[in-house]
Amino acid sequence: MAEESVTFTLPDLGEGLVEATVLEWQVGVGDTVGRNDPLVEVETTKSAVVIPSPKAGRIAELHAREEEVVPVGAPLVTFVVTVSDDAPQAGIVGKVPAEERPTRRVRLKPPAD
């Protein structure tokens, strides 16, 4: 198991929006968050939205203070995520098959010959 830091940048929250204002952080440095947990509320020229966490991990750094304007593409938050060496990630679609101990219900009778 290894740890890796991942920085999440502010996505385009609408069609062609260029920036957003941080209203309220819902996490702090050192917090452990799950994927899709509420991360931060931001306000764009269209609306205020809560951005869900794209990762499960520990918050290492918040790159903007509340009331600060963040351009799209600028760092928003850095996570420390745990990367498992033995649980490979599937491609873009599909799941890595779980290697379970094979089971069966059918019992065989050896042939007479």
């Binding site: 599909g94 799941k95 098959p97 094979p102 219900r105 059918v106 065989l108 050896p110 042939p111």
Partner: protein
């Protein structure tokens, strides 16, 4: 870890043993091929910058440059059409179609051009193309991302078809496929991409169309390829607890089929069960069954059994476990041959 047994009884040549997954083994083979032959080109959707959706081409563009390893538009027909043109101009293309279900839009190029060109030109334009096709189910992917097209390709004159079942074979068989001057459809079993195994990176030392006995046994032969080999080995391990010794024959090449190796195994065990993911009707199991019947009819103690997918479209993810041959279905078929 199943011991690898060479059907011919010859010693496999010594090569260092490394632990690799199939995706890494295929990557290694591609690296060897790109390095040894400047005419080898690797291309397809996302194979370059991204390194492939299954990481199979990871790092190749960086190492060999974007003229040898490159991304294509999302157009399978164009990918295979480009392979034809490149092959006619002396290149050795190794295109990837990202998922087997995406091969259908390219069927015209594959069947009407790739497979026929050598015949059409009386050998003036051979097609040394190896189509890498992540194949079969087992990863619970959405529709069109899991298919079992081997019978379609095996039925097409001019194509060779191969499906490795483990990382070691994946390496060796890809070297063999790409170095062949004939077009080869190389079907990578997605469900087996990730498991790491100790691998001997062997140079090909057997002719194209050689099968392999993965596990010896005397009561019946399980015939399989791709991901089903692993399932058959699991079934054989469980059958052994009941005192039934199943031989597992990995066909490897689905065109040409190793009729001789198949007959030799079944002549010994007198019973055969063929296992595949594709639907039953007109699947390759029928071909295997016919070959066994033609070549060792008098040795058979029971009719050849087929354990296959069902005659329905390949189901989307959640229904896969009900569709794919299970260990119980395999063992039931074995029991039918034992009791016949």
């Amino acid at each position: 870890m199943t011991e690898l047994i060479d059907r011919t009884g010859t010693e496999t040549q010594e090569a260092p043993v490394v632990e690799l997954s199939m995706q890494q083994a295929v990557n290694r083979a591609l690296r060897v091929l790109l390095a040894e032959d400047p005419d080898v080109l690797v291309f397809g959707e996302d194979v370059g910058t991204l390194g492939g959706v299954f990481r199979v081409t990871d790092g190749l563009q960086k190492e060999f440059g974007d003229r040898r390893v490159f991304d294509t538009p999302l157009a399978e027909s164009a990918i295979m059409g480009m392979a034809v043109g490149l092959a006619m101009n002396g290149w050795r293309p190794v295109p990837e179609l990202q998922f087997d279900g995406f091969a259908y839009p390219a069927i015209d190029q594959i069947v009407n051009q790739v497979a026929r060109m050598n015949y059409r030109t009386r050998g003036a334009a051979p097609m040394p193309i190896t189509l890498r096709l992540p194949s079969f189910g087992g990863i619970q992917a959405p529709e069109h991302h899991g298919e079992s097209l081997e019978a379609i390709f095996a039925h097409t004159p001019g194509l060779k078809v191969v499906a490795p079942s483990d990382p070691g074979d994946a390496y060796t068989l890809l070297l063999q496929a790409v170095r062949s001057d004939d077009p080869v459809v190389y079907m990578e079993p997605k469900a087996r991409y990730w498991e790491r195994r100790p691998v001997q990176l062997r140079e090909p030392d057997e002719p194209i169309g050689t099968s392999r006995i993965v596990r010896p046994g005397r009561h019946a032969t399980l015939v399989a390829w791709g991901a089903m080999v692993h399932r058959c080995v699991q079934a054989a391990e469980l059958a052994a607890e009941d005192g039934v010794e199943l031989e597992v024959l990995d066909l490897r090449w689905l065109k040409p089929i190793d009729a001789e190796g198949l007959a030799a195994s079944v002549a010994r065990t007198r019973r055969a069960v063929v296992v595949h993911e594709a639907p039953l009707t007109a699947g390759l199991g029928a071909e295997v069954s016919a070959l066994v019947t033609e070549n060792c009819f008098r040795d058979l103690a029971a009719p050849v059994q087929r354990v296959t997918g069902f005659d329905v479209p390949y189901p989307a993810g959640p229904l896969e476990p009900q569709y794919l041959p299970t260990i119980d279905r395999i063992l039931l078929a074995v029991q039918r041959t034992l009791e016949f």
